[in-house]
Amino acid sequence: MRNPQLNRNGGLQHLLTIDGLPPEILTAILDTAAPFTEVAEREVKKLPLLRGKSVFNLFFESSTRTRTTFEIAAKRLSADVINLNISTSSTSKGETLLDTVDNLSAMQADMFVVRHASSGAPFLIAQHLAAMGLEHIHVINAGDGRHAHPTQGLLDMYTIRHYKQSFANLVVAIVGDVLHSRVARSQIHALIALGVPEVRVIGPKTLIPTDVDKLGVRVFHDMRAGLRDVDVVMMLRLQNERMQGALLPSPQEFFKYYGLTADKLECARPDAIVMHPGPMNRGVEIDSAVADGPHAVILPQVTFGIAVRMAVMSMLAGG
């Protein structure tokens, strides 16, 4: 079965997941993003790469930050951006996902940026577009269920490369709710593809997915042991609803054992960086002293995120 996000020449047709993407493509995206970081410094923050193209932000699940950064990225590339919050419009009128896609395709869309609560929804859209002969429309997965959030994974890689230069000798720990996290899955695939020798996941057993070690990571349940000598700490967001359903007893206990504090961070290397995909729950997964401290690179992540999304969009639909 051909990876549905690659075209016949092995190039990127869609960006649906990092799983299975060759490292050359990942590196090419990071390399393409580098000059885009400078665009933001200019007085006129625009490039004409997507002029005349229509980018539809299809958000079937609410999001402010991700949608905004995609919107900024598309606008800096001179695309026309249409934002659709579908959770509150069509589906409540009984329209199916593919009906919505067909309608928007008929409006001459060039790109769909899709967020959906169900794992695999962007694959369904990409396969449908292929079946309809609409191969000129590209799909970017902006987060599907627990499955993938590839642009987040890529912007995290950009951030790591920016601060650590190389992936070759790093130890990276991903901490928190790995079970429900599409961000963690994309991070794991990206880190391993780019050659990070040791990727760890840290969390209580209720938040670590079955057989996750088969993805190539080491599992730790003791946070201090897991953080020992790491170069990069990637914190995950803990959704409030996880306190229901018997996954965790309380936010306080979670913070005590799995929240990142300055004290626990001392187990890591002195030059370790701390990342978080946002939005942060201060006092639940991360202490403010760390979030605002010298190791944190959380705001640069957001800035790099725009450049990385510009890179992905221009590689898919530019030229």
């Binding site: 199916t96 996902l97 695999g120 694959f123 369904l124 627990r146 079955t210 088969k214």
Partner: protein, 436 residues
């Protein structure tokens, strides 16, 4: 109507027969095997040269979607699919709308199905009203209306006291119960086997323990109540081991698996293929291998199609939102033959699982070519293969994970009670050409 089926390779697992022999049918029954009865003058001769003549298939689970889901399928469309698949007897699960929980519904279904050329339909009645797991149905009345067993389809009986009493009540009349083992809580949000594939794809998992814990409950209550129990659609190696161990301790439990679980594992979900969504879920490769061996050795009593026609809208959705199930009536024989070939099993042994062994689970004298038996016959061609396409399927449900696959075993002719219910015209022409 007297029919003479000549020159075929006759395989009748119930009689241990696999030989070149003619078959003679009169008055809807098998009149003779081998030599014609005295004075037999056939109205029709069917040339089965180069073909296999076997009992009509017995399918332990085929959803006809009536009443209530006629937009998914109708009795007419699914009966045509059954005949085209060589299936002459089928049990239908009670998960219709409304469920088969009162005698009038069962009588109506039996009445609608009583039609020349339609397979024999054996409804499985609902064990509890509305399949809600709270109150018992009128099992004795339902039995008189035609139910051959009682079950819950995919609906659990959460309250174990209700479950025990339902079993006790069924055992009072020696009615069998057919139940699926899935814990309602452990599998609650899950859509795929809890393992590496689900973790990679971010799909909520259903652990094997969801099956084994529920199975343990079913087996212990079956032992205590003495009810005859049939476990439907097992999915894991662990469940099979438990059933084998239960038998050794004296619990006469039988079980079946579906054609999907015989050939597929969670790896077949690929990139979120909604055709690979099933309840219970496809387990991993080791489970699939254990089921294949278990069916070969007879620890799994029967193979069924688990036919569940689903409309396209319900399948064209993200994996977790897609309706589970697939069409299967027309694939039961081909997928049995594929498995038999891969496992290098004698044809008679493989066919037993979809004829005589399945009939034994049903408690019926079907699935046999013995003299005097009802003349339900399937004639198929072992040579060549065919491609499964939406167009090739007569079922109204066009969804199966086997679309596009080349499979062996095209059915040439199906007889139900001595009437020709299906003839494959294409293959008749090819056959005529082959004969020159």
């Amino acid at each position: 109507m007297k029919i003479h089926i000549k020159n075929g390779r006759l395989i009748d697992p119930s009689g241990g027969i696999d030989a070149q022999a003619d078959l003679f049918i009169a008055a809807g029954r098998i009149a003779a095997v081998g030599a014609a009865p005295d004075g037999f003058a056939a109205n029709r001769v069917i040339d089965a040269t180069g073909r296999v003549v076997c009992p009509g298939l017995v399918d332990l689970a085929a959803r006809l979607r009536e009443p209530g889901f006629e937009y998914k399928a109708t009795l007419e469309s699914e009966m045509a699919a059954a005949a085209a698949g060589g299936v002459t007897s089928l049990a239908c699960p009670p998960d219709t709308d409304p469920p088969l929980d009162e005698p009038g519904l069962v009588e109506m279904l039996k009445h609608r199905a009583r039609h020349p050329g339609f397979a024999h339909v054996y409804p499985v009645g609902a064990l509890t009203l509305g399949l809600a797991g709270e109150r018992l149905t009128e099992m004795a009345e339902l039995h008189e209306a035609g139910c051959i067993a009682f079950g819950q389809a995919h609906a659990p009986v959460v309250d174990t006291l209700v479950l025990m009493r339902a079993m006790q009540y069924a055992a009072t009349f020696d009615f069998p119960v057919w139940l699926q083992a899935q814990d309602p809580f452990l599998g609650r949000d899950g859509v795929a086997h809890d393992g590496e594939v689900a973790t990679r794809l971010g799909l909520p998992g259903i652990p094997v323990s969801a099956e084994t814990i529920a199975l343990s409950t079913l087996l212990q209550l079956a032992r205590d109540t003495g009810v005859r129990i049939h476990i439907t659609r097992i999915s894991s190696a662990a469940a099979l081991e438990m059933i084998v161990a239960a038998r050794a301790s004296g619990i006469a439990a039988t079980c079946d698996i579906s054609i999907n679980h015989l050939h597929l594992s969670d790896a077949d979900i690929g990139y979120f293929n909604p055709h690979a969504r099933f309840a219970p879920p496809l387990r991993d490769r080791r489970d699939c291998d254990a089921l294949r061996r278990g069916l070969a050795g007879g620890a799994i009593n029967a193979l069924c199609s688990d036919h569940a026609p689903v409309d396209d809208d319900a399948k064209q959705a993200p994996f977790g939102e897609a309706a589970p199930g697939a069409s299967g009536l027309e694939l039961l024989l081909p997928l049995t033959l594929k498995w038999a070939g891969e496992m290098k099993l004698p044809l008679g042994q493989a066919l037993a699982r979809i004829t005589s062994d399945a009939a034994r689970v049903l408690g019926l004298a079907a699935g046999t070519l013995a003299v005097g038996a009802v003349a339900d016959v399937c004639i198929f061609d072992l040579r060549g293969s065919f491609r499964v396409t939406r167009e090739s399927l007569r079922s109204q449900g066009k969804n199966t994970p086997f679309l596009g696959r080349e499979l062996p075993g095209r059915v040439c002719c199906t007889l139900i009670e001595g009437h020709v219910a299906f003839e494959n015209e294409v293959s008749e022409k090819t056959h005529a050409r082959l004969r020159g």
